[in-house]
Amino acid sequence: MVLRRELGTEGGQVDNNVRRRDDGERRQRGGESVGRRDPEKETRRGKDKLRERRDKEEVDRRKEGSRERRSERDRRDKVVDGKRNDEDKERLRDKEDKRREDRDKEKQREEREERRRHEEGGETERREKQDREKRDRHRERDEDKRNASERRERKHAEVKEDGENREEPRRRGEERERRRTERGRHDEKRKHDSRPREHRGVKEEVGGDGERTERDNVKERKHREDEEPERNRRRDPTGSRRSDNATDKSHDARTEGEAAARDPRATAEPAAEDEELADYEDDFEVIVHAQAEDCNAWFSCFKSVFVLCLHAVLAQKPDYEEDFEELDESPDEEEEKEKEGSEVLEEKEELTAERRKEIETIQKAMDEENQRVQSREISSTEEERPRRSTGSEKTPSGDSQRGKFIDFVAAKQREVSEKVASKQKKRSTELLRLIDLDFSTTASLLDLPPVNEYDMYIRTFGTENTKQAYVQCNEDNVDRDIQTEETEVCEKWTQHPPEHHGACGDPNLSREAQDKSEMSFDSRRLATFLRSASQVMVVLLEERRADRKSLEKTKSPTDSMSFSDGSLLLNTQLPFLYGRRVSLLHFSPAQKHIVMSVHRPAGTPSAVRLDGCSVICIWNIWEPSSPQRVLIYESEVQCCCFSPGKAELVFAGTSVGSVLLWDLREDTEGHYGLQVGERDWTFRLPTFSTDAVMSGSGHLSSVTSVEVVPSSSSSDVPLLASEDESSGPAFHLASLDEVGVLNFWVVLELPKANEAGSPTDLGLRPGGKVKLLHSSVLLAAERDSQRDAARTGPLQTLRLKFLPTDCNRFLIGTNVGLVNHETSHGLKAPPRFYGFQEAAVQPVDVTSIRFSPFRRHLFLVGCGDGSIRLHAASQQRPVSEWRNSTSGEPVVSLEWNQTRPSVFCVLDGASNLHIWDLLRDDSQPVVTEKLLSDRVTAMSAFGDSGQQHTYSGVALAHESGKIEMQYFTRSLTVSSSEEEEKLESLVTEAF
């Protein structure tokens, strides 16, 4: 606004100035000048410093570039505005003055005309100087501090007036005045000493834009620096120096102008300002134009630098301004000096001290203002821009084109873009805090493999005269390069020795087997069905064959026996039975057609390597052709028995003191198979053996008897084959050895067989399910008295029999002819023993004790001396005693007939078979058969009194190993009701 106003009034400005100067003169003359001027200087100085600082900041913020520079300018404008406000009062006053001046304008113009005319006479140099001063003043006006400098301008006017008024003296004392001016200038210099630096800062900023500019800067700087020493010397008022300086400074404006001409930056500004001046300062138009022309050339060269240059120029302006101010003020100082003389220097020193303080305060104020301005600036840059441009457009006439050229359009754009950029930058920094950028994985947009030659060929020529064909072997694997069969791999394991189950196997197999068993309940049922059905079939076939044989036999009278209704030969013509004597025959109490035969170890070596072993064969008498099972054991088996109920378990006692158990249900596959002759035989080792395992609790001498302890409930229901039995409620087993140690065992069936064998039960075969658990031990062989012991030697216990009616009571046959009656819990049973008629102790072995299957309290005792006794369980003495019935031969075996209660058979040591029938004759056997041709070593009675088919007979084992089943004739088989009564009567007769 101010600018515009001033431009508008430019026509009369000079007069104004003159008026003002008049005013100023008046005022100064009024004595205010010193007081007023000093603060002004100070403020200026403060401003300078501020500017300097700002410029330094500019250097720092060089990066931020022209925007900052622009803002710097703006700031300055603002500062000016601020000042303007401060000086409103003055301005008002000035306006009044102006009005007055306007009135006086005419007069003054005339005066000036006259003056000029007058001056034209010779003092061109001085006028030039004055004009330059004026021009500079105008520049000042152009400059931001127009209002601030108004007063100063007034002073200028004063100076001018002085100059005019005192033309003569001035002319005369030109030298002196110059000196004065010099001094004043020095004062100014002192104030402005920071300027050059300021310039430098600005120049440095611009420096990079052009070499020339830089050079000029340097020049200018040098120029300034040259002046610096002068400034330093200011205080000592050496006349010659001063004069030198004065001459320098008198040409100052010119030199400045020249420098500006050289320096596009410097000239740019004066040129621009000169444009304004051009209208009313005709005299200097030429110079200005020359400068402008120079500038033009430079401008064209440094277009790109314009914005920067301009800025630099603006930054420089104050320098010029101040320079000329100096000139203006120098007259004042002169006056002062005239008044105050040499004291001025001292006063100035004082003043500087004062000033510094003031400067500081002012600086602070300026800083604050600047900050405020700066903050406002950022928002208002846009608004100021047009104003600025219009302002520049107003630069009058001739050089206005250039002014437009310099115009801020480019800068504006630039600034806008910078602003946008900074905004975006800010935005991006803010956003980047919120966002994570990451590299995407390399996305393959297109992957077009090169076409191979064949395809290319086919594509181009494939359709011509060709036919495609291919051959493929192994059609499944078209995509395979190698098409050989894959090697099959499977896992196996082996174990040595292989006699136990699972000598080799497949780890996967067991799983498969499990799977199979899971899915094949039906097949299992089928298997059981087949097994039983095949058994039936085999039995039928065997029977038929046996019938044919027996028919043949009956035809041959030699074989027939008096008591026999026919016979059946078990096929013992087996290689592994060759040359073995049968020591025992034993029928199962429940399954009466099952018989086992114990074959002693063979004396002569045979082809089969089982020589040292006892062999036990389990036969079904309906299948005489081959044994059902073949059991083997290393040492001699002394005694054996079947399990109660179904004949599933076989127990045996051996001469080495072990108790053995075989589980007949075990599969054949787990056992030692051997091909003998044309058949495969499976030889079963005991499922459980107390050998060595139970050494602590087992037998230490040979076992003479093993017996199953009848269950307590068995008195009513004789051991029937029940389902419960097989699923295994445990039962007890008793084993007796020679020295009278009676062991009780619990027979346990494990829920699951362990193929790997049990780590704790070392007696249990791997895969075995039934085991013996030692339950208790009893020393059965109690001597009656020491006296007896002395007579008969050590007592041997030979036979063990439990009372079928009471499981706690058992009989033990001894080697003294007595049968001890004992209980398992140490209780005393009424007859302590069953003895001879004579009640004497004889060294006679009890070889056999048999309870009657019909009258359970009656039992027969066979002795080594051939005597046979019939006892009732309640009486010590026998019911009847038969001596010499065997002619002194020891009784080997004694058997009740299974179908007739009053019939029993006795086999003696001389291979005589005596059949007693108490009903017919209770003093001697009814039949005595001498079997001398092939001695009989063992005998056992069998028979079934079942409803459908009653049969009975004896199985005879011959020395040759032949086992013969002799069926009794009908008279010996079919019982009558009298027989039991006969037995009862015998008992009652005896007591």
């Binding site: 966002i435 590299f439 994985t441 992957d447 290319m456």
Partner: protein, 120 residues
């Protein structure tokens, strides 16, 4: 001075750049424009340019607001040579995505890729 700004740093779901949809757009345009075309070096530059513009317009209308779209269309002659094209981007994987489609016939191949970068 500006106050602290608030930014919408995630697009609404319905405005999100959906590659499947964009791919369909590309496919449609490319199929329509290129099916049966023979490679002609004279007209391919113009063709690819117009394709790119076409795709860009279509995708713009497909409703990906606030997305800056970059469409790249490459048309090359198909003579049995191997071609590999891949892209890599530094972007915010949460918002930005791309879709591409390839069209190949006997004479030429065309790869059109649209990169959508979210404009926060």
């Amino acid at each position: 001075m500006e106050g602290s700004d608030t930014y919408l740093i995630r697009p609404n779901h319905q405005f999100k750049f959906k590659p499947a949809i964009v791919k369909e757009c590309i496919r449609e345009i490319v199929r329509e424009r290129l099916s049966g075309m023979r490679y002609d070096p004279e007209e391919v530059p113009e063709l690819s340019r117009s394709l790119a513009n076409c795709i860009k317009d279509k995708v713009k209308n497909a409703g990906s607001d606030r997305y800056k779209l970059v469409v790249q269309v490459v048309i090359g002659e198909q003579r049995g040579q191997g071609v590999k094209m891949s892209s890599r981007c530094l972007w915010d994987a949460d918002t930005d995505n791309y879709a591409e489609d390839v069209f190949i016939n006997d004479s030429l191949f065309c790869v059109a890729a649209v990169f959508g970068t979210y404009y926060y």
